[in-house]
Symmetry: C2
């Protein structure tokens, strides 16, 4: 399994931002097989982790035309800066 | 580079919890070469991401005796449930 860690400093997040985020999440799940999505905040920083079956799914998602437009608006307006880390989950364990 | 994603549902987090968290973070940086630590919240869930040079550093950190005790208290009292994911960072890019 793979994941994408996205950590961002917000810029100007208008109404369009919220609409786009919701739309992108739906698209990621319905068309690109996103498995899970965690949205967190660390002070001013946004931290999201999305989970994917493999790296190809992530690449296809990144290249989606609507998503590409959203990324472009993200860089132009919604985010001051961000870092994206594509990671492979080597092992996991849990306690319940 | 490696990272550890830790996602937890809090249990009973007493005063000892805060003291231990601060102590563990210091120990991770000073003795085990932790590179970066991000602490976030997603609703009720705690989400932390710690970054490490390699998998050995993570193993040594996991087996530290003080850390082992903290983990045990975590399971007994401070956390209702958690998941730990050890991940390898395959690629990253940023916008600034």
């Amino acid at each position: 399994m793979y994941a994408v860690i996205f950590r961002a400093k917000p810029g100007v997040q208008d109404e369009e931002y919220g609409i786009t985020v919701a739309k992108m999440r739906e698209l990621a799940f319905e068309k690109y097989g996103c498995l899970e999505f965690v949205a967190a905040t660390a002070g001013e920083e946004e931290v999201t982790i999305s989970y994917w079956e493999n790296e190809d799914a992530i690449k296809h998602w990144k290249n989606d035309s609507e998503h590409a437009l959203a990324q472009s608006l993200g860089r132009k307006t919604w985010y001051e800066s961000y870092i994206v880390q594509v990671v492979e989950i080597k092992r996991e364990y849990s306690f319940n």
